[in-house]
Subunit: 160 residues, 2 copies
Amino acid sequence: MSQVEIVGPLDEAVGYVLKQAATALRAAMDAVLRPLKLTVPQYACLEVLDQRPGLSSAELARATFVTRQSMNLVLRGLQQRGLLTRAAVAEHGKALPTELTDAGRAQLRAASVAVCAIERQMLAPLAPNAQHRLLADLAACAAALSGECQARSTEHAVME
Amino acid sequence: MSQVEIVGPLDEAVGYVLKQAATALRAAMDAVLRPLKLTVPQYACLEVLDQRPGLSSAELARATFVTRQSMNLVLRGLQQRGLLTRAAVAEHGKALPTELTDAGRAQLRAASVAVCAIERQMLAPLAPNAQHRLLADLAACAAALSGECQARSTEHAVME
DNA sequence: TGACTCATGTCAACATTCTGACACACACTC
DNA sequence: GAGTGTGTGTCAGAATGTTGACATGAGTCA
């Protein structure tokens, strides 16, 4: 029985530390977003929508790692508060393009400042180059897991 | 407008990529644990308990990033399946020490092998030294967030 | 001793998210 | 044109996790 198959101490397991970091980030974001009356999924929705206006609910859901059904509730809440608008009728297929309102953009701006502060706090112990490295490594890890389903051709690492 | 306060493209936001990696890992773990009739929280519970026998439900909850109440349900399910035992009476305070049974250890062994395979797949694109660096960087990020939160809310940080 | 604080286990109510299911709209093939 | 496949929006139910609350046991300090 080789040691490779045994999980070492938890602090040395990447999965555990990844979960720890994600949990801490989630809690911190939740704390700073609460005064703005925004949940993390709501903020994520606004952020994605600001960068990619016109996205449908289903596309938004994939971008924020939730189901279409959950995103639908999020959108409904944000729409009622006047932070975004959805087309009443579909131009193409059944997808209803969604866009931020001015109020939504203003709210997002405030939230974005708060969240950026959290990110800076999180990355404070790391040098700038280490921060970029972390970003690239995490992206590679995510791709290595999710990419397995569709393409196994990633035999070689793509460096940019 | 200063660029510092604006979240850049999502792919360059550490929080976003962190969430992406955590979600992918969670989904992959869920897939390999399902045949073993284990959920991710259940596996996490077994893993922690194996490394630190005798932990109470509350301690277990903190170690696996859930509430005491949730952990209680997890423990109840695992206990009914004979994978762990809880002391009927508390020796000290109200804490009920928990330990794995032989069946629990066997189940954990199988799960651990599967999860380790996932971790290796996730880390495959990274060189060994990059893997250790990622581990350390993530730990530093988590500490930078949770340490600050604790210090601000309770005024005194408990370091061990 | 008594009051206080802290941690634990547990109950109940609540919120959030997911799974399963259905109908609809478009693109493609035959 | 008819059939098929994919993507989308939506409803309902279930599972999951959380917050709030309470009683209990142990330690601390006046």
